[in-house]
Symmetry: C2
Subunit: 483 residues, 2 copies
């Protein structure tokens, strides 16, 4: 089977001279990126066309398809963002209705805006101890589904590596003939198997199942997040007959550049080939890295690496700060500044590291040693954990009330706006998304009413110096202009 990357290298080694785009003419010798420039071409003869593929790009997509077991797989060069926009635009008619989790990626909200979609939210559940979004059960979806819904949209795994019951949810959706879209941007490594060698004492022994196999109708995978592909690359998989493939294709053409990068596309193909040929070793390394972290940090008193009871995804290492005298952000900063370890993100109660099969043994060791070291250094902790410390009940879930929507997202975003000082904003209608970042879940969505309670919540974040997005520098809310 021809390989996109190898064909690009062959072209570059051939006598064929490029009187076509790009302007660098594969002739940049002065940077370490020259290898990538060598593979950077436009759609010339024999190199197919991403938007109307029937040659080498189609074959590469079919390889990915074979690996994941979908009916159809598309390469994306504008990230999972373009996948979510296309999936929602294709599955829901303009002006239709979607059932979705509040904590969905902003591309879902953008699709809602662009396509005049109305949204019904699933209960907004946050783990009370870890302050981490909860995954969804079959019942959550069954209870919320009604005949007005055109499609269901969930994120699984979450950023933190928690998985919803995709199989059960797909069943519930399919009983009503409603398609299920799974934003599995963080789950491209799911479903790969290791070499199944005995793993005595291991906490994690395998990777979760892929949402494609679990029956979702559309699954979106970022390939760069957890697998060895370049940033901004993704896959969109379609399975079953609830989705019109040609509509998905139409929207992929709309939301993606007509000059797709062969560097990005060949990076996806290289990644798929790597996983096809050496996926077992990748999984073995990933499991071993994760279990080392899990097992070797067990003795910590102030910190705890969340285990399989909470985190389904082997690749997500959430370091929970048991001793509440330190925040997750502080832990993140210490790891970065004192140990030269750059983590992915910080929550209020934990810091999150992402590991993959491409980590280095040495890096994993440094993380383990840093966790143990920080845990032991009394100087980092404002006070010791008391002798009678009892772990909190980490199955406790808070369900947040959501603000009332007075206008559609579309109408509010396109309405005339005025700036209203926070303290005067009660009962105004939000004209912009307001998020606490992280985790980036909207506190208020355009069109929703700003209540007294929300103002208190946001004022609280601001007084703690937390990063609130969607308000002006002068700390005003962007509101729909009152007539």
């Amino acid at each position: 089977m021809p390989e996109l990357y190898q064909e690009l290298i062959n072209l570059s080694n051939s006598a064929m001279y490029p009187f076509h785009m790009p302007g660098h003419k594969r002739n940049l010798e002065s940077t370490p990126m020259k290898g990538a420039f060598r593979c950077d071409i436009t759609e010339i003869d024999n190199f197919d066309n991403l938007h109307d593929e029937n040659g080498i790009i189609l074959e590469a997509e079919e390889r990915a398809n074979r690996i994941y077991g979908a009916d159809k797989t598309f390469f994306l060069v504008n990230g999972s963002t373009s996948g979510v926009l296309s999936a929602v635009s294709a599955a829901v008619p303009e002006g239709g209705r979607i059932l979705a989790a509040r904590g969905s990626h902003r591309s879902l909200y953008h699709a809602i805006y662009l396509r005049h979609i109305s949204v019904k939210y699933l209960p907004y559940k946050i783990n009370a101890v870890y302050q981490m979004p909860e995954p969804y059960t079959k019942e959550d979806i069954a209870n919320a589904l009604d005949d007005s819904i055109d499609a269901v949209f969930i994120t699984s795994p979450t950023y933190d590596g928690r998985c919803s019951d995709v199989r059960g949810i797909a069943e519930v959706c399919h009983e009503r003939g409603i398609p299920l879209i799974v934003d599995a941007a963080h789950g491209a490594h799911f479903g790969f198997e290791g070499s199944n060698k005995t793993r005595e004492g291991y906490v994690y022994t395998k990777l979760p199942e892929s949402a494609v196999k679990q029956g979702a109708d559309i699954v979106i995978h970022s390939v760069h997040k957890t697998l060895p592909s370049m940033t901004q690359t993704a896959l969109l998989h379609i399975k079953g007959n609830l989705i019109d493939v040609s509509r998905v294709k139409r929207f992929l053409r709309i939301y993606q550049t007509s000059s797709p990068s062969y560097v990005l596309m060949s990076s996806i193909d290289l990644c798929m080939k790597e996983m096809e040929e050496n996926g077992k070793a990748f999984v073995d390394r990933l499991l071993e890295f994760r279990n080392r972290i899990q097992i070797e940090t067990r003795q910590c008193r102030n910190l705890r690496v969340l285990s399989e009871d909470t985190i389904d995804d082997v690749a997500k290492v959430a370091i929970y700060v048991k001793n509440a005298t330190m925040t997750g952000q502080r832990l993140y900063d210490i790891l970065r500044e004192e140990y030269n370890l750059q983590l992915e993100m910080a929550g209020e109660k934990y810091a999150l590291a992402i590991i993959s099969g491409w980590d280095k043994e040495k890096g994993i060791t440094r993380l383990i040693e840093a966790i143990i070291d920080i845990d032991k250094k009394d100087e980092w902790w404002a006070s010791a954990i008391s002798a009678d410390y009892k772990e909190k009940d980490d199955t406790k879930v808070t369900i947040y009330d959501l603000p009332e929507a007075m206008m559609s997202v579309n109408a509010a975003m396109d309405a005339e706006k005025s700036l209203v000082p926070i303290k005067e904003a009660t009962n105004h209608i939000a004209g912009e998304f307001i998020n606490l970042y992280p985790p980036g879940i909207p506190v208020v969505v355009p069109g929703e009413i700003i209540s007294e309670k929300i103002i208190e919540e946001i004022s609280g974040y601001l007084s703690k110096g937390m990063n609130v997005q969607g308000i002006t520098e002068g700390k005003e809310f962007i509101c729909v202009k009152q007539k």
Copy 2:
């Protein structure tokens, strides 16, 4: 000033270990692309965020801004496509009206579809001799403008390197307070100056002026097409006060991935730095290459490289087939198959090469020699050009009638469809774009009525084996279902 690329290399050389995305962990040593993987990170501390830039990405954008002289410049990682979508979505209210050239890039039509925009077309002018889209004059726009228009959209330079009178058109638009959007995807090299050394005998002595300087309100530049940046990279420039920058920013966030590639972004910055430091030499080389081609092929009888009378852009080498016994496609194929020269595209009457300051002397020589060689080889030509051959009047322009629109683009694209055999399609309403490729200009746009004349035109293309896009494999039209 810090440079994005250099900072990425510094990071890669530092002791900082990545417990974040991407999953390859900058640890891919096995491919020539490893240099690019080294620079491929996610948004970590100190590396800013494309969608909310206030650090190193903003500084890089400001460098580009300084070079082109706009009020505001944005980096794009989803190509000029995302620039056009964002510009039109920002400049025209939903449901508004745009004045545009028929031969606009498909991203314009996609914006029209997504945002329920209605379109008034400029006269559809094709050069009668070269079968090449004509640029626009100030009068073309003045005659078509009316008070229903929210924005004007033109493409200049065209794919073939022809420039409209952007300065005059901007004046006409601004008299009415209407913003002008210029799709200058192929004009990122415009406005750069050479070293101004004497260029005796040169046909081309400078590059055309940039649309930014000529007064356009939004200009979109592909950086990869004519400058040394990676495919899929582009810039969006805003000037003046007719455009709401925050609205543009909103749509750039919508239409572009939330995981933008640092490889692509640093490639833009590297390119800007290169042009800032060595732009003069780039322009000198480009001019010299172009003039060599122009001058050294002058003696050809069957072929003619179109000159500055027709082609404004130094980078576009349109090789016109004077001797009508050969098509542009045949010339393109011969250059590719017999001479290993891959051109950009073939029109009916010409083949188009793109050159840049990064071409190699040797490559230019090969092109010149090939043109001369093909021109001389009688075996390629079905008959000789007659002794009394007279050049055709190449100022002659054909203005095509456009089909009547019965429905909006949006309504037609989202309507229920049926397949209608070509011969039975008279008076049906098109449900898809039908293009002849190249040039890719729609023969029919969704919502337009399919006339007898159009059926004859398309049947003619098909019988010649030309590439007609938008019909099924069974040669049926995709039409709006008749009730």
